[in-house]
């Protein structure tokens, strides 16, 4: 049977003292970021956290207990706001870990017996370590969330399908093509072909840094799918190095019309759809 700890009572009775020490300590610590956060905000957060911990401690120091939920929620809030403010993980974790010294100070001040002191210190350390690790984890989760959201946004942003003319669509590809992106590109393109009734789609790969066999295969898949929908594809924007790589890799692009520039591709697309470009008289005389 665990002996009743004094920590809950100590935290409650010495609340003001701990808070004062803690805030002072945080204000002098090297991890303080005055550029990111106001002192009043820090004071407010510290006060609220300490009183929540004080309440939760009345129900034992196991943070899996439902009584600790408010504390965890509050830590979640802090982690979220600090991620948004640009704190590093250790700066965030120091918010909890800096509470150790004030805790130890009051424990030392109220406990005389050595054995008891040891047990109290240990309890406080375990508690603060668990909370510290918890806020670290939350910090990490928030960061990952940001990365995932950005990835999703990138996927949507980077696959526009634009209409150049009646019956002609262009698909400027930027960045590396992997399976997931190819799938989205393909779906977008096919959907737009249905919507616009386009007969020709120009896939411009000027913005694709490298073309390996996999990327080439993805491109050919897109071309094949568009053809099944009755639209011809032209691949344009092939840089000299990429032309060399394609041939070295033995990728067969003979089934597809390829052009060096988007302008060439557009011209041939216009010709195929029965349209054409003529220069006006003024522009002709300038030449």
């Amino acid at each position: 049977m665990e002996k009743r700890m004094k920590l809950p009572d100590t935290v409650r009775t010495q609340h003001d003292l701990i808070l004062k020490d803690w805030v002072e300590f945080q204000l002098t610590a090297t991890t303080l970021r005055r550029d990111l956060m106001k002192e009043s905000e820090l004071r407010e957060q510290s006060r609220e956290f300490l009183s929540l911990v004080g309440q939760a401690l009345q129900n034992g120091s196991d943070i899996g207990d439902p009584a600790w939920k408010p504390v965890k929620d509050f830590l979640g809030q802090i982690a979220r706001s600090r991620v948004a403010q640009g704190f590093t993980p250790s700066e965030t974790a120091m918010f909890v870990f800096s509470l150790k010294r004030p805790f130890f100070d009051v424990i030392r001040g109220t406990t005389k017996d050595v054995k008891e002191l040891d047990a109290e210190m240990w309890a406080a350390t375990v508690l603060l370590d668990t909370l510290g690790l918890h806020i670290m984890e939350l910090h990490q989760q928030n960061r990952e969330e940001v990365i995932r959201r950005q990835q999703e946004e990138l996927l949507e942003l980077s696959t526009p399908v634009v209409q150049l003319f009646d019956n002609i669509l262009a698909l400027p590809l930027i960045g590396t093509l992997d399976s997931a992106r190819t799938q989205i590109v393909m779906e977008n393109l096919l959907q737009r072909i249905v919507e616009t009734g386009a007969m020709i789609a120009i896939i411009d790969i000027t913005g694709v840094p490298t073309v390996d066999t996999l990327v080439a295969q993805h491109l050919l898949k897109t071309v094949a799918a568009a053809r099944l929908m009755g639209a011809d594809c032209i691949i344009s924007g092939i840089r000299p190095q990429i032309a060399q790589t394609i041939v070295h890799l033995g990728v067969d692009l003979s089934e597809v019309t390829t052009k060096a520039t988007l302008a060439d591709a557009f011209t041939i697309a216009l010709t195929r759809t029965g349209a054409g470009i003529t220069k006006s008289g003024a522009a002709r005389s300038k030449e």
Partner: protein
Amino acid sequence: MERIPILKMGNFLLVTVQVDMHDRLAMTLQDDLTGRIVKDRAHGVLIDISSLEIVDSFIGRMIGNIASMARVLDAETVVVGMRPAVAITLVELGLSLPGVRTALNVDKGVEMLKESIEDKARGNGHLAG
């Protein structure tokens, strides 16, 4: 027994697949269509698969086969109205139907057929003259 209707439109035959194709249905269509091409002396076949939502490798291959058979019987074949999802599935299955002509909808398919039949007629006339 369930059958896919084959309609005659001038020189062409129009096949509209309105139900999900199962294997037997595809086999029946193959028989019916080749028979009708010969009987009606059709010069073009339009296969409209705009209602087809689910394809597997067998149906994919059958579509390709039917189109190739029609071509052997001297009828230009155009597959029209394939849905994006079906197109992606076929490509992923490795069935990109090489040699089969495709168009977005029946309208464009008819146009395509008319053009190619005119071309052919001109070519034949040229050879005869």
